[in-house]
Each structure stands twice: as structure tokens, then as C-alpha cells.
Symmetry: C2
Subunit: 384 residues, 2 copies
């Protein structure tokens, strides 16, 4: 089994290392330093530095958005959307994607060695928020010498980061595309996250978060967490269409607890393959960051206040069968933006693929992204 720990400290990516005397001030009041940010870039930054597109990844994503993944050897998670000649055309745009703060693929997180102790942070890592992730990304954007991003694009937890970028740094975001997300995490979504965390923590190999020192990993607990979460990423109709009640490699029930049904076999595979590339503590930290996300609460109870005076162009996208982040939640953001007279378009895409639709073959998403981005680029004078 590939150890994510090594990717955490010595990732197959470029790494920005920020020394301890320039710590990141966290929303909790704590400071984090030294700090490292692992990132990938695609395409070339133009001399005007006006063609930079920041991609924000989701809970279980990482910076390998458009290149082969160093652990799984699979294609980048958005390689259908991003690349030469793709909707986000890397012949025209300079695309940046960094691993989020709290992640396990090279940006500082619980799987990294804590230089103060010489062992992995584990639960000594400070609890972080979506805003903290964005402030870390801003350090990277500073380092790359980019004053204003042409666009920030992301889905799910990535969409939350897009919203936080637009709220925290309105002058640095020309265009923002939050996909399949919400301005706050719902009670039901917090509940699902809590079950996943309890599954991890119930695993005796979690060892209160100090599993690396014990030479073990809570693979069973993390696998259960992933299985449960995975159901929420799909729609009932997608599950019905893909699996229904079809048996796996048999024609009748075995009257046992084997994976008789294809859907069971599929879910078990999802759990097993996930633990090979993901750190259990990172899962706890990132789900927690999503739970805490509430843009209205951060702005005196008013979502509109989060975008006051914003000049950013927005394009929101939701999917009809997404029950984790519903169209209604995207509409709330649209209303808040409308209240500010902001430039906003909203596309609800008809799909039965559930929340995962944003990662899958969805031609309307491709066209929407390309149209929105190219229009923004033209407005900024980026050469075609």
C-alpha cells in the first residue's frame, strides 16, 4: 500500500515553502508555520499576468487536476475539463491548482511531520477552515506574482473556496465559478460528516490520531466513512440505473453477508481504493472545515454582506439530482449576489448523476465553463 505520508512531506509537485517567521494566521486564532503548499501549474503565465485560473479541489481531490496522479496513476480528476484545447484551455490560460491546507498530498496537514516534534502532526494540527485554505492559496498566488486571478473555479468544497475567495479578496478575483456548492453546510451534511468521522475515530488503529507513530492506519474506519459519503455523491436514480438490484457474479442470493449485490461490491471497492491514497486525519480536518463553512454567519448573519460591492463576475452551476448541494442552495447565493447588483449568471444542469456530476462527462458544464471563462478573458484582454 502506498503511504500518503511520503506524498505529504515530499510530494510529486512543486512546493512553496514558507518559513516559520511568516506564519499563517488561522481563523481559530492560532498561527501555523512553517507552511508548505504543494501545487501544479499548466500552461504559461502571460507577461501581463492576466491569464491565471485557480482551480480549487473538493474534499477528496488534490492538486493533480490535469496530470496523471502520482499514487493511483489515474488521469487528473478534471482532465476532461482542463488541458490543451479543453474547455479550460491551457494553451490560453495559466492554470494553478494547489493541495488544500489540511490535505495529505503535500500542503501542510495532519500527515506532515511537525518540525517542532519530529513526528506527524496528527491531531496536533490546528483545526482549519475554508477561509484558512483560501488565505494559504493567496500566499501561493502572491508568490507567483499574480495580483488578480482571471478566474477561480471549483466544485463542492472547491466551490466553497471560490465563494470564500470572492468574499475575502474581491479585488483579486475577476470571475468566480462556484459549482455544486452552498454558502453554508446543512444540518444533514454535517450529520453525514459526523458519521464518517466517528467511523474513523471508532477504528482502534486511529490511536487518537497518532497512528503513524504506531506504524498502523485506520483503514477500516476510513473505508466505512468513504462508503457512506460516496452514497451521498450519487443520486438514487444513478444508483438504480447503474446497479439496481443486480447481483454481482451470481444469479441468486447466497444467503450470506457477501457482496451479493453489485452496489455492495462497488461501494466496498470505493472504500478500499480510497484508503490507499488518503490520510484519515486529513479526512477529519477537511470535513470539519466544510461543517464550519457559513458565509452569512461570517458576515453578521447576512449572506449579501459577504459580497457587498463585489465587482466579480459570477457563474453558479448546480445539478438537478444533486441532493448534497441542491439547486435551492445555489439560488440562495444568486439572491445574495442579486441583492448587491453583482454580475451573476446561474445554470442548473439537468443530470441524474447526483453531486458527482461536476466531475463526470457533462457537456453542458464544459460549454458553460468555456463560455464564461472565454468571455472573462476577452473582457480582460487575454489573447485567444
Amino acid at each position: 500500500m502506498t503511504k500518503p505520508a511520503s506524498e505529504a512531506d515530499e510530494p510529486h509537485s512543486q512546493v512553496l515553502r514558507i518559513p516559520a517567521d511568516q506564519p499563517l494566521a488561522l481563523e481559530s486564532g492560532l498561527e501555523l508555520g512553517p507552511l508548505q503548499i504543494a501545487y501544479q501549474t499548466y500552461g504559461t503565465l502571460n507577461p501581463e499576468k492576466s491569464n491565471a485560473v485557480l482551480i480549487c479541489h473538493a474534499l477528496t481531490g488534490d492538486q493533480h487536476v490535469a496530470n496523471e496522479h502520482p499514487v493511483t496513476r489515474k488521469a487528473g480528476w478534471w482532465s476532461n475539463l482542463i488541458g490543451p484545447g479543453k474547455p479550460v484551455d491551457t494553451n490560453r490560460y495559466f492554470v494553478i491548482c494547489s493541495n488544500v491546507l489540511g490535505g495529505c498530498m503535500g500542503t501542510s496537514g495532519p500527515a506532515n511531520i511537525n518540525p517542532a516534534t519530529g513526528h506527524a502532526y496528527g491531531t496536533e494540527f490546528p483545526v482549519i477552515t475554508i477561509s484558512d485554505m483560501v488565505r494559504a492559496q493567496a500566499r501561493l498566488v502572491d508568490h507567483l506574482g499574480i495580483e488578480r486571478l482571471l478566474a477561480v473555479i471549483g466544485g463542492s468544497m472547491g466551490g466553497m473556496q471560490v465563494l470564500a475567495w470572492a468574499s475575502l479578496f474581491p479585488d483579486r478575483v475577476f470571475a468566480a465559478m462556484p459549482i455544486a456548492c452552498a454558502a453554508k453546510h446543512s444540518a444533514q451534511n454535517i450529520a453525514f460528516h459526523e458519521v464518517g468521522r466517528q467511523a474513523v475515530m471508532a477504528d482502534p488503529d486511529w490511536r487518537s490520531g497518532r497512528y503513524f507513530e504506531a506504524g498502523v492506519r485506520p483503514v477500516k474506519g476510513l473505508s466505512v466513512a468513504r462508503m457512506g459519503a460516496h452514497i451521498t455523491y450519487l443520486s438514487e436514480s444513478a444508483l438504480q440505473r447503474k446497479f439496481g438490484r443486480k447481483f454481482q457474479d451470481r444469479t441468486a442470493p447466497t444467503f450470506s453477508f457477501d457482496a451479493d449485490f453489485q452496489v455492495e461490491s462497488y461501494l466496498r471497492y470505493q472504500g478500499i481504493s480510497f484508503v490507499e491514497r488518503f490520510d484519515a486525519n486529513s479526512y477529519l480536518y477537511l470535513t470539519r472545515a466544510m461543517d464550519y463553512f457559513d458565509l452569512a454567519a461570517d458576515n453578521g448573519g447576512s449572506l449579501a454582506a459577504a459580497f457587498r460591492g463585489s465587482k466579480t463576475r459570477f457563474c453558479l452551476v448546480s445539478f438537478t439530482s444533486d441532493w448534497l448541494f441542491t439547486t435551492a442552495e445555489s439560488r440562495q447565493i444568486v439572491h445574495a449576489l442579486n441583492a448587491n447588483g453583482a454580475s451573476v449568471s446561474f445554470v442548473e444542469i439537468e443530470s441524474d448523476k447526483g453531486h458527482d456530476a461536476f466531475l463526470l462527462e457533462e457537456p453542458v458544464l464544459y460549454r458553460t465553463t468555456q463560455g464564461f471563462l472565454d468571455a472573462a478573458a476577452s473582457a480582460c484582454g487575454v489573447k485567444a
Copy 2:
């Protein structure tokens, strides 16, 4: 902690003990014997034996439908519906409720001592189905000398039993009331069950099902399973209304993995309290029985064939916000009954309480049940 094991073998209920030479033939092809069935009755069977109402309980219910629970000391789970002067009036009806086959409250199940070995069955217990549960109940009804039940009523897994009763023993069921259920378990529901089972089995204290012999119990795994399942029993709007993003005993996030949010605290309590009264192996067996339920598949692929020539009166009930067993699934049953020209009424109750609505304060359910049952009783000449 109260040990369900003792309730399994020596329950606080009446017990029908069926000797080994009269085993139950199971759908798997195996036989189970000896067999015990724990049950409660309320009211008096009339001389004509025409006023018997069988209540079928759900996954985590039991026979203590209208009396104080011997373990939790709480009121019976349907004591709002059943009792003297209640919609199911025990002054008029003789109400029977037995613990299901595979349960842990006194009917034979994995927590019972296997007389062949002297230790708890554990996973040596045969995998059972909804039909097997119903055939065991039929033994009890035989024992009570009742040829025909006035009504069989149940919700969720209890509703599946009602459907199986009407299909297997059409002449023994005058009226059937399946509530918040389906004629087959959906792919999504199988998926949620599988996550729960994996959570139990991932607990090292599960010991491949032999935990009683080791003097332990997989409480953490079962608790996680219950937490996840509990989310599916509620609706998003119920969770929003009850909890939203409200904090538990604090005014701001603690930036930790404590139960900051009320919904987390609530779920943890649901998990902890469940393991005090329920057996982990029973949870595996009963979820498996639900997964296997598919009335159409049992009848050559035709749901209509499951009710061919049925003279039973049906009343189906669904709840608008129930996403575990949707109104669409109840409608499929209605259509199959209509295809047989059966007597069927269907009530979709407006509620935001989700699947759990059938157990909660729902006046429309009370009126529907009372009206349907009293009409059936009048048709059968049961004195008011």
C-alpha cells in the same frame, strides 16, 4: 449496560416455544429449530376470533409496541396509536406483536443460545428473509387459534412483512396496511445498509460475530451504523428545523472535533442509546432480510402476480418527505393491486418528518388507521 443477550433467551414477554421436530423451513433451504417466538398481546380475543390485529415491527423495533419497554423503560414505540381508546382500540381489538425472526428481544435470532452448541448462534444463525419472518409469525397465529387476521399493520420493514403476509397468506389477511415501505429494497437503501454492516464488521470487537463468547460487544461499530441509518430516517427539512447549524452548549465553534453542533450531539446520543438495547448481529441479519426483499422477483418478475386474486382490503400510506421509502414506491404497489382489481386505498400524508413520520405524532395517520380498521371490523361483524 443491559445485556440484550438475556432478553434474547429469557424475554420479558410471552414466549411460544416450538420444538426441534417442528422446524421452520427457511427460504434459503435450511431449517431452523427449535424455535422461540416472543410476543405481546393487548385486549381480548373475541369468541369468534375475528378481532385479531397483527402489528409488524420495523428494523429496530420489537414486540413492546404498547407497553413500557423492559430495557429502556420508555413507552411502547406505537403507544400513541395502540391502546384503550386509541386509533387501534384494544378495548375492541386483540392486538398481537411478536419480535421478528432474527431479532434480539426473545424470538430466535443470532443473540440466542444455539442449543446444539451451548453458545450464542452469532453468524451460525441462518440468513433469513422477510418471508421467513412472516412464516414464523404464522406459527404464532396458528398457536393462538386464529384462522384469519382482521388486519396486519406495519411500517418500514413492518410494511414489508404486511406485503409478504398478504402475498403468502391471502386468505388469512382480511385487511392489510403497509405503511412507508416498498415492494423491494432500492439500490440506495441496500447501499446504506451495507455501510452499516461494514461499520459493525470493522469493529474488532465484532470478532467475526462471536463477541458474546469473548465477553465484548461491537458497540462502536453498531453505534456508527445507527448514526448513519438515523440520518436516512429523517428529512433534510426536519434536520434543518430541529437543529439547523445551532451550536450545542456553546456560542461559537471550538475548532475541535467535539460535538459543536446540536445535530452531532443528537446523532451521537442516537448511536449510544441504540447499542444498549440492540444486538449487532441482529442488525446484520435484519438489514440483510430487507435487502433481499423483492416481491416481484419472488413472483416471476411481476409484482401484480404477488397479489393475484387477492380478496384482502389494502390501505397504503406514504409520507411526502420520506426519501427512504418514497411515495413513488408505494404507488408501484398500488398499481400492482389495481392490476388485480384489488380493494385498495392510498393515502399520501403531508409531513416534513421523513421516514420516521410513521412513528411520530401524525393525526392523519391516526385517523386513516382508525377509519380503515373500524370499517374492516364492521364488515367482519366485530362488535364496536
